[in-house]
Amino acid sequence: MPSTPPSIAPAAAPPWWRDRRVVPWLVQAAVGLVVLVAVAFLLGNLVRNLTAAGLLLTWRWLGQPAGFDLAETILPFDAGMPYWRGLLAGLANTLRAVLCGLVGATALGTLAGMAAFSSNGLLRGLARVYVEVVRNIPLLLQLVFWYFVVFLTLPNGAAAFQLPGVVLAKSGLYVAGLAEGLRWQLPSLVNGVWQSPIRLSVEFAALLTGLIIYSGAFIAEVVRGGISAVPKGQWEAASSLGLSWFTTLRQVVLPQALRVIVPGLNTQYISLAKNSSLAVAVGYSDLYSVAETTLNQTGRAVEVYLILLGAYLGLDLLISALMNALNRLVQIKER
């Protein structure tokens, strides 16, 4: 007897609040509403409170004379110049610290990352200890340590630390360089004060030391991870071809490791750029510290904050763009 197909009751259509075509829209509408209401609430308060305080958004104050001096700038700046020149000088100082920090931290981090694969057990251990110690101590603490404990207790004058071409004193770091008329000039002591073509302030030196040593530890971990991602057979093959340890690393392993390293470096570079804002703790006039002074004088909190936000976001995007370009260079070219 042919079996009649069991009659299937047509499934009752789910109520609209469980309909899979409706629910996503409901959720989105709810989230959108909450976000809109929150933003409207905050902005409404902002406008009301700023109006009450007479601080409605305006950029005219940027043209007024700043009235404060900066201890060290690479762009010319003095108290008579407008605020925007001061902020620009601060930005230039930030860029200088970030650029020098990037170069130094990359060099130190690469060396420490490579040392983790040394055949010398002591060097391996030292690299490990460096990373573990530095990563577990706050950067701000390290910065004030370098500034107050190391650089501010340096001797001055003839007692300063002297290396060929470099003098380290409490008044700054003096480096040999080209003076007027393209003469090579070494640091020299004139009336108890050091003179040289290139002088770095101790504030800058402390900031740079702290940033390089801190970021160097993180970069060392990135480099170590990248090198250990290269198969061991590559090392063995290279050494059976008679290449030395260093040649193997430079010619065989690092080019392959770079593919893993570059994206990790991007993150570390961005965090170095952001960490440079801690310069305010050691008295280096970077963008943040100029912005703080500007706020204290003008009371323009919102505008100053927008400038800060824009500058650091721009810096991050710039670093990201450059690193992405580099990343495309080092990736495997598939033919």
Binding site: V31, S119, N120, L122, L141
Partner: protein
């Protein structure tokens, strides 16, 4: 001793170049160590730490109210001892060999050594010293009791032990800030290690659910949710923490109706929370990406709803994968609390600055900063150790017992 010698020879003196490097490094490290020890034992004046130990611990917390902090410490150490013992009593059934801490005797003796040495080093008053000894004795005693009899407890009671921690935390909040019948201590009087740990733990606890939600939002199929999460995460991650603290201190007052903005310390704690949530979201997102889509599909075809699949299938796996990255974020969050000193709050580094501004201790930077560095290092290293232990305990792979 033969193998040790052979190993030393292989590690340090394999080639002439290695030997030269080793000798140079040993000389360098040796002289640095001798120099440091000479400074630490002979030249350094640790009086700055000894005289201000209370200030470093709790800031300007009123002296007549400090019994509350002692009570809180007692509760915390008691909960720690109980949990420690229970963890010992209940190793994972599939691995007898690996317990936590792996070497219990070492941990206990280290604890006892610190408990004996630290009060002596800090030159605490005999009464306070005795209190610390009693607290450590209680910790070890509870650990022993729970480890010895923990297995025999009824399972209902056992399940209540993890609940001890949130209870103690909430109770601690009340004890610290007052209210409910005890005298109020305004947040402006909290400081030192108390404030550091309070801000860090507050931000860690609250940024966790927020970060998970943001990570889910960023991976959501709904465009509005996804874009809202992306904008939030990238906006926060693009700015340095100090500019966000700046926002909290100078602009939050404008964003809220008059008088609704919280106390400065709470503002900073909330900024830390929102800041950490963005970074945590990225850690959780990497964990979510590691869960194969087949897992959700299998769960859905078993009839689990989407929230159920998330709760029982996806999140447990994702969070386990993300655990190391998350703890890394927590560690950097603990370190980031030092930035509160830049906006004038008296956490550890802020207290250190006020202490060193005291003419009696001028120029004692090295001693103070070194102490803080050791303190932070220990806290961060402990978090890292705990995370690795938790990873081992949650590792799904069965390791044959030894």
């Amino acid at each position: 001793m033969k193998p040790l010698l052979r190993r030393l020879r292989r590690e340090l003196f394999a080639t002439p170049g290695d030997a030269l490097l080793s000798v140079g490094l040993i000389a360098l490290l040796g002289s640095a160590l001798v120099g440091f020890l000479r400074w630490a034992l002979l030249q350094a004046e640790w009086a700055v730490i000894q005289a201000n130990s209370t200030l470093f611990a709790v800031g300007r917390y009123p002296i007549d109210q400090q019994w509350r902090l002692w009570l809180l410490t007692t509760l915390l150490l008691g909960a720690a001892g109980l949990s420690w013992g229970m963890l010992r009593a209940h190793p994972r059934s599939d691995r007898e060999g690996i317990l936590w801490p792996r070497n219990d005797r070492l941990a206990v003796s280290l604890l006892v050594l610190i408990a004996l040495w630290l009060p002596w080093f800090l030159k605490l008053q005999p009464g306070i010293q005795a209190r610390w000894w009693a607290l450590v004795a209680m910790l070890i005693g509870l650990r022993w009791l729970a480890g010895r009899f923990g297995r025999q407890l009824p399972s209902k009671l056992k399940r209540a032990i993890p609940l001890l921690w949130p209870t103690v935390y909430l109770l601690g909040m009340v004890l610290i800030s007052g209210g409910l019948g005890i005298v109020k201590v305004p947040p402006s009087e909290w400081g030192g290690l108390l404030l550091t740990l309070l801000a860090a733990s507050f931000a860690i606890l609250l940024c966790f659910p927020l970060g998970v939600l943001l990570a889910l939002g960023r991976r959501s199929e709904l465009p509005l949710l996804r874009w809202a999460s992306v904008v939030y995460i990238e906006f926060i991650r693009g700015a340095p923490l100090i500019t966000l603290l700046f926002l909290g201190q100078n602009i939050l007052g404008f964003l809220l109706p008059n008088g609704l903005a919280p106390e400065r310390i709470w503002r900073a704690a909330w900024v830390l929370t929102f800041f950490a949530a963005a970074y945590l979201a990225e850690a959780v997102r990497s964990g979510l990406a590691a869960v194969p889509t087949g897992q959700v599909e299998a769960a859905r075809s078993l009839g689990l709803s989407y929230p159920q699949a998330l709760q029982h299938i996806v999140l447990p796996q994702a969070l386990r994968v993300a655990l190391p990255a998350m703890v890394g974020q927590f560690i950097s969050l603990l370190q980031d609390t030092t930035l509160l000193s830049l906006i004038g709050l008296l956490e550890l580094l802020g207290v250190a600055r006020t202490v060193m501004a005291n003419p009696a201790y001028l120029g004692k930077n090295a001693e103070v900063y070194l102490t803080l560095a050791v303190l932070f290092w220990c806290c961060c290293a402990a978090l890292g150790l705990g995370s690795r232990a938790l990873e081992r305990r949650l590792d799904p792979q069965t390791i044959p017992s030894r």
